[in-house]
Symmetry: D2
Subunit: 341 residues, 4 copies
């Protein structure tokens, strides 16, 4: 089969022939890929940022955001059948550790990350587990939903945690209206009645944000912290969701957060530097977020299939993967790029 394979860090991956995966365990599932999202994390992988933490054996196939159709199942699989349309949680989990037994899939002590630790889904067939499969309505087109598998679940997970803080009269600031942020805006709008302020450097991204539910947009041109303060009566926001968390956003985010408020870190790359006096004198929180639970993904698919979350995507043939990665890197993508094998 065709696959997008990384042979060397700091070099572009190569689209080439690779062997198809095979079933070995009773809960194994092989999925025929219908759509594979292109994520900023793929750029970071190529740059070697994940080399030490994930230690994949090169060459390997990247891609961790997938939907498709069940192609083959192991002996003990009961939740999906061959032919089912599915979207895949990014981490096949053990199902037996404390975290799994509490539903916190992202903290499974034995989880793997196809596309980071070993062969992923920018190819024709992906080996995953029954526990990673969320069954969809049969006619769903995988390319239309694939971006929910990673960008979507991550945005949804953070928003869901913030819901109790976002009662009527409160404000949610979202920093970054790109791949994750444009989904996050729709989740906040669908699940709360909070005022939504979106901050981004890119005016086109802000136009999209308005169409998706933002009540106010702020261009990040240097005055963004003051602008948010002005829009919140000087108080700052109850919740700031930072989908960027680098290049200065990580400083803005905490400053935009009001007394007793919470700053949700979702993006990464920067470093927060905060006097403990500022944390305690206002009792503000900094909240970590990573992917989401299996049920988060299932809930998000309910929103998507009800039309409450729609994706802005641009599709590329699998063989054009390198072009898609370059477009993402250059800021030429609104929403998400999707490879279609």
């Amino acid at each position: 089969m065709r696959a997008v394979r990384l042979h060397e860090y700091h070099h572009q991956p190569v689209v080439e022939q690779a062997p198809e995966p095979t079933i070995s365990g009773p809960l194994d599932v092989i999925v025929k890929i219908g759509g594979a999202g292109v994520c900023r994390t793929d750029l970071h992988i190529i740059e070697g940022q994940w080399a030490q933490a994930m230690a994949p054996t090169l060459p390997y196939t990247i891609g961790h955001e997938n939907a498709g159709w069940v192609h083959e199942v192991g002996a003990a699989v009961t939740n999906v059948e061959v032919g089912d349309t599915v979207i895949l949680h990014p981490t096949p989990t053990c199902g037996l550790c404390r975290a799994c037994r509490a539903g916190d899939d992202m903290h499974c002590i034995q989880s793997t990350l196809p596309g980071l630790s070993h062969d992923g889904g920018m190819d024709e067939y992906l080996l995953t587990s029954a526990r990673a499969c969320v069954k969809l309505e049969p006619l769903t087109r995988p390319e239309d939903v694939a971006a929910l598998a990673d960008a979507g679940i991550t945005a949804y997970h953070a928003v869901r945690k913030a819901i109790p803080l976002l009662y009527p009269g409160t404000t949610a600031v979202l920093i970054g209206a790109g791949g994750l942020g444009h989904i996050g805006i729709q989740c906040v709008a669908a699940l709360t009645a909070a005022k939504i302020i979106v901050v981004d450097r890119n005016p086109d991204a802000l136009k999209l944000a308005e169409q998706l539910g933002a009540h106010h947009t702020v261009v990040a041109d240097g005055g963004q912290v003051d602008a948010v303060k002005d829009l919140t009566g000087g108080r700052g926001a109850e919740v700031v969701l930072d989908f960027v968390a680098e290049q200065g956003a990580e400083h803005d985010g905490f400053q935009m957060t009001g007394r007793a408020g919470s700053y949700f870190v979702i993006g990464y790359g920067g470093t927060v530097t905060i006097p403990t006096l500022d944390i305690i004198s206002t009792e503000r929180n900094i909240v970590g977020n990573i992917v989401g639970t299996y049920n988060d993904l299932a809930e998000l698919m309910v929103l998507a299939q009800a039309g409450k979350v729609t994706l802005h995507t641009r599709t590329y043939p699998l063989d054009d993967a390198v072009e898609a990665l370059a477009d993402l890197d250059a800021g030429r993508i609104r929403g998400r790029a999707i490879l279609v094998p």
Copy 2:
């Protein structure tokens, strides 16, 4: 009356005569002071650290941790009567803003801080509000409980927020076994079945910690992060309560916090510096804490009056206030210093 008054920053306060306060508003209460705690914040006030934020008119009377007896009440006071033994919440609040109406006294938009913004309680009579008075059993000695008014409520508030995270099988690390920490240990022991690890530089403080409920103690001599990792199977703790948050503790605290865990900042003075990648890859939280609610103080008094929280104190006559401040600054106090007028 005698009062401990600050005339100039960076100079010791003076114990001198000062006029007694008078009732002017319908909810005003004057309390005859029975005990006034000496807090590290008093040292910070003298150093001028709060000069800009609180802007008191010098000279003024310091002291923000008090218990005593009701001496006089305004026309609309219904919850206490003259002669009642009371402990005082540090912030008289408006009772009408959103935060007050939610019970979040420490976020009242009109609260004042006697002892920081204007005359406090290192004297014979303090002007406060009906909303700050928690009524005690009549025979309670104010000097025995005064330290709960600020050190106690602050420790209790943080511990109470951590309870849902501290189910059986989890670990709570407490950094600092001094004024706040020695109360925090007892609160964790009274309200959870978590394993308690206490970290402090001072071996005497750790001995006290063991008597108060610590299961393990760790001397902070450079190997404290590794020691906590060892005691938690390499994982770190679900909850770290940092009563120091300066002089390096603020770096240790986050490192001692395990995957999906929470680092509670309670002390202050240092600066946290954390890559956002470290926050998201493990989904850790940094939780701000400030004082506590009126009900927090009332609940803590239940624990105290049941003997589940006991204070380690050393009393000084009010006229020896400068000596008490010096002893605190030099690390000669185990638990809390209390002035008795």
Copy 3:
């Protein structure tokens, strides 16, 4: 002033002259009434159902659902000024008990209920407390929002408690689309992405329900439990909000509730009769609800002023109060009847 006064149980109240209230306490507020809602509880008062519990001295003025303009304030009132447009929480509270300090206004141990325990607001001027006043945008017409003061807050309070149970993919059943229910539907639609099923005997009420956000409506003609089961894949609903809770609804409600679900009792009049085996074998809950907090009312006003909750009302001059009560009793009101002095 004109007032609707009850002279004898089981007889219609009389619209007659009554003395205006006067300020006596520092937190007293007199409000010029702009709108007074007519509630099923008023019918129950006339029938004597509240005589024992509330023990008002007859004759007295009924009316417990009010909005208007501040007319006079006591010496210590700081949150409103003469001329402000306000809606009134139904219970002036003490502000000092445990419940008040936790924000649970409806459980204040010293609260009074104007309109039930003593003179209420079906008149020109009402005596209440600063703590009951929620300030509105100046141009709000009190008659347009008065129904939110009791019907609205009660519906909102129950819905807000149910939000964590109503994640995407779940179902909320609302029994009764009248005064409370037609507000409840809008609250569920504004604050969750749950599927909304509305059950009522009256096809006109169901038409209104559809316009307000119901995804499915069910006529309560005997087959309503089966219909809800059919609409929920045989499982029943995660949440049932019963705004009727009499005349059989209280039996339907629990049966419509699925495994691990919650049946919210909001209306009253009937009796639930449930084998404890049915409660435990499915781990279902029965949740009591009464009025709501001050902050609940403030939040609801945010929804109302944003147009997310709109009221269906029919206004009557104050002098036509008896006609309004008769129309309500006869089922001739869609939404809520409002008296305008």
Copy 4:
């Protein structure tokens, strides 16, 4: 092997030879039984109360409360090995449904109940699933902990849900100090600082209750509701945990529950009959409880292995099962009867 098998409803089971179970699925586990608890539900099974709901094919082996050692494992089992000491969650679950993925094992849509729906654990070898096994310290004696597998988890699950309601100053009433209740008392004492009142008909059970942590005991001789009211200042308790819920306890329980309080139903057999007016006017809740999660059982084992929960048991050889059942039925057991094969 020897097994306690039910041949006919309303007749005592027979201890006889039965075939040993065999592994067929990849997650199957066979456990050599070290202790099998005797539960009131076994009496109800014999009486035919579960015949319709569970529909086992007679004859079959009863017993649903077990601990022992792993004897054989299926091909995909990774969490336990042959020889491990284990306690068994009563319901092997699918691990793939929404409830399982949220950690709510007791609501698994495909769960089975060995001992109710098919062969259970009053025998020498039990077939269960990897997902039901909680690994214990190797030297734990199964007969010492078996009662935690059902009585324990059920009591713990209810208490854990009640913790947020049981802050200092509140009261927990426990009705019934038998098999479940005597564990519940210890859980409340270990996890909260609430005042504990225990109600039982049997003075010996109340003596045990005092030793286990009850602050007050009340003989259920007709005056128990008044006694609880007296002990709670007339208000009733914030939490009532009813381990009986039949023979009148189900009426007492709701009456003992104070304003805004919660009545937890854990036992079964009776019928609650409550006017909806009583539910709403005080905003009380009735909370269903069934078994508990896998993690509940794991947490309870932490308490047990730390000595915070100890069991009062009486052991019988497996062949004396009928005598043990008779002793339970006659009220001759303090704590729990355990069969040892």
